[in-house]
Amino acid sequence: MKESRVWMVASLVLTCAVAAFALSQVYAVTRPKIDYQRKVKAVQEALAAVMPAAASFHEQEPGEMWFALDAQGNRIGTVLKAAKQGYAGPVPVTVGIGLDGRIVAVRVASASEGLKETPGLGLKATEPSFLSGFVGKTAPEVRLTRDGGAIDAITGATITSRAVADGVSEAMERHLEEPAP
């Protein structure tokens, strides 16, 4: 029986079946934990993008505000999230603000994270050339130049630029309401 031709193929198929069954179980058990970890990692990366100097983040308001901490654990800034209505949909913005109240960096959610702005125009809001305009600004300056602020909008995508600027300024206002540590 051991060397019969049928058993030769059957044994292979049977082993595959058993292996597949075992693997599907393992996958079912471990998938939720892996997805959770992947989500946590994505969030951490987003925060780190706007606050490179931070070693870890303490979640102050879930999904809204984090305190950026350095290696020793003392606070070096805050990170806030806000979203204003843009041309085609909400424009989620992440803002990193230093202790001095000045903007460290701004990041706009990329297309793969659900940004619906028109490619080539609105989507340019995610590029550093536009976002670098926010760096170092304090709350009152975060307005488009035509609205009396210091941020020059992307030509042809004023609505998206304003959405970003408004989002950033809303985040900064909320930051001011918070009692400083």
């Binding site: 058993w7 044994s11 082993t15």
Partner: protein, 202 residues
């Protein structure tokens, strides 16, 4: 077959006399790549050990059923099952270690030790013997990985299991050479020379 070795000898021979990495010279890829620190080395050895023990048991248990002509593909399936199990379990519960070991965890499936022992030993011996052989080889593997990991970590970053050991003056500018691939080649060359000198595995 040479006279049936006593059970204890199967176990102990795997550690020194027939040490998979330094004497039989197989399974070099993970030995060099994942030994940046003692913790990673042991983590890799644990992962490979789990797969080796698991596959040796299953192969030995099913050895009467497996037709000779297709024994290699069946061994490969058994081994890749255990590898995928450790792959996903580690991704879920030990993400930091998984990030370090990276592609070497799935690469265990082509690790010459495992397929080699499955074919040369487990397929021909009883379950208990195979278990002992697997445990022996794993301990041997772990020993070398630990030594390599500890040495590279000590020289390369002056710490042991992450805790600083050497004075901070050294740790400020450690011999990074050890953490890079050339250091790994060099270290295993020295270790193999010591093994040759001491005449183990003659």
């Amino acid at each position: 077959m040479s006279q049936p070795e006593s059970r204890i000898r199967i176990l102990t021979s795997g550690i020194i006399k027939e040490n998979p990495t330094l004497v039989l010279m197989i399974g070099l890829c993970p030995t060099l790549a994942t030994t940046m620190s003692a913790r990673d080395g042991l983590g890799m050895a644990a992962a490979a050990g789990f797969v080796l023990i698991g596959s040796n048991l299953v192969v030995s248990a099913a050895r009467r059923l497996v037709p000779d002509a297709v024994r290699i593909p069946i061994f490969i399936i058994i081994i890749s099952t255990f590898v995928t199990i450790i792959d996903y379990v580690m991704q879920a519960y030990q993400p930091s270690l998984y990030k370090v070991l990276g592609v070497f965890v799935p690469l265990i499936v082509v690790n010459c030790i495992i397929l080699g022992r499955a074919e040369a030993f487990a397929y021909r011996r009883g379950v208990l013997d195979s278990l002992l052989d697997a445990v022996g080889k794993t301990l041997g593997f772990a020993l070398v990985l630990f030594v390599m990991g500890a040495l590279r970590e000590l020289i390369g970053s002056g710490t042991f299991f992450g805790r600083p050991v050497l004075p901070s003056t050294y740790r400020a500018a450690p011999m990074l050479f050890m953490l890079f691939p050339p250091g790994a080649f060099f270290l295993i060359g020295i270790l193999k020379a010591l093994v040759n000198k001491s005449g183990i595995g003659k």
